[in-house]
Symmetry: C2
Subunit: 300 residues, 2 copies
């Protein structure tokens, strides 16, 4: 089943202890789309400026990602982020953030997007996430992401959103902030009571915790020695997860758990190089091979 | 098979955001022994002072733990630690540390301890750990723990120890310090090259990573909403792990993985109350029941 994602499309500049890359392809919707495209067809909605290299769009189209919903604003500049990772790669500092055309972005979904049964509302203003949701009334599964900024500044709209979505995916620090509880197990359950049928708390290199109606479980990250650039790991996780759910056209507990595992493994590849470089170098069979290793790792 | 442990025996004072407990039973050898006693008979070696309440020793004996190696120093005072946990329970501050009789402790193993086939050298000076090892020549499986203080101040003796043990169990921050590498996967493999056949890196609420000759895997912690006092979690983990290995009298890869899982679950009970309170309230069947839940959690 086709999967629709609305989120940021960016030009990132990333500094790691060993290397710096400038103006590489990034943004939540881009990482999400590419990750999901291992599993299903994807429709991307977002906004870029005149400075957006057309080869990026061509690459996404060649991958089978529908970019009809990618608005190009004449005279505008693409959203840019510059970040620096510390030595342990788990902490990063935002050095520069230019919202540019993303600041005025109003999501308008093309007609064919509006009939998508699977919808992911990537990190963005809850008000815009709600507007997107209004355009996609027939969606069977709606999952959203959020971040500290919106938890602090748009709490009311976020609460409205939580009542209307099936799943929420967020970071551990965001879950603590949203609930004012430092125990992630309690925090996850508390967020579920705010509306979503399930909640996934992402813990970066420590994996993810799932909270559903009848079960709570933890899946660890896949241990990779080659962490080059963690940017986009969370969005790749969500993309792998949602892509698998859309492929199976099912989100029962068993399929959700498999989807979380695929999300985990997709993210484990993303961090092994800058931007989409590693994901562009692998195929579905590499994901499936790592899934075999992962299943073996967790069975005893 | 009997299991011998040499380590600290303490009176702890613990402050958590919700409650404070003074002079409760603690210390690495105590947590380890009690955790291991769910699986096998245990021989504890350590030192206490005159102020040590004899009811503590009686409780350990009633549990089937051999305390012949517990030296009581006349006129001496027991090792005392006072710590305070921050709101998120993952960070703690040592408010007071009185080594007392532990400062001059020379491990002397009673005759029957010297023939133990399973030996755990809890956190302590590597020089003393080596002296203990010399007294236990016939051990089939020797595992040690260490800490930042000894990595910094007795690195040479620690390196000698690493060449003579089968396994090392240590915290994530200690693994990074020992190897000067912030990637835990690389750090664990590097420590294995220093001597031990296997290395276990403990990540607290995020579980543990195992490094063996042919495999690296991660096991997540059991997600508990009831974290009351994390003191002793690492020692309980090691106790559950070593206890199970001694019970099975085997440490092939399959048994080691099961042992890590039992260590994880034993620790998950320890943190649910102060001191040994939670462990004293459960039986082996509670561990086995949680093991069923844990296996289910990790299978998909």
């Amino acid at each position: 089943m086709p999967l629709c994602v609305v989120g940021s499309v960016a030009l990132d500049s990333v500094e790691t202890p060993s290397e710096t890359r400038d103006n590489v392809l990034g943004g939540s919707a881009v990482y999400f789309s590419y990750a999901a495209s291992f599993f299903t067809s994807v429709r991307l909605a977002g906004v870029v400026g005149e400075d957006w290299p057309s080869r990026n769009t061509e690459m996404l189209i060649a991958r089978g990602i529908d970019t009809a919903g990618l608005q190009v604003i004449e005279g505008g500049k693409t959203f840019r982020w510059r970040g620096k990772y510390m030595r342990d790669m788990n902490q990063r500092e935002t050095l520069d953030l230019q919202l540019n055309v993303l600041g005025d972005f109003e999501p308008i979904l093309p007609e064919e997007y509006q009939h998508c049964r699977y919808l992911f509302l990537a990190n963005g203003s809850p008000e815009h996430q709600l507007k997107t949701l209004d355009q996609c009334q027939g969606a069977k599964l709606v999952v959203a992401d959020t971040m500290d900024h919106y938890i602090r500044s748009e709490r009311e709209a976020l609460m409205d959103l939580l009542k209307r979505i099936d799943g929420l995916v967020l970071n551990d620090s965001e879950a603590k902030l949203l609930t004012d509880d430092d125990n992630l197990v309690r925090a996850g359950n508390a967020i579920r009571l705010m509306g979503p049928k399930f909640v996934v708390i992402k813990k970066g290199e420590h994996g993810a915790i799932f909270f559903g109606e009848n079960e709570t479980y933890v899946l660890p990250a896949f241990p990779t020695p080659d962490v080059v650039d963690p940017t986009g790991a969370g969005d790749s996780f969500a993309g792998g997860m949602m892509g698998y759910l859309a492929e199976k056209d099912c989100h029962n507990p068993k399929t959700l758990k498999e989807a979380l595992a695929y999300g985990t493994l997709t993210a484990s590849f993303t961090v092994e190089d800058f931007s989409l470089d590693r994901l562009q170098a692998i195929g579905r069979k590499d994901l499936d091979r790592r899934m075999e290793e992962y299943r073996k790792m967790l069975s005893f």
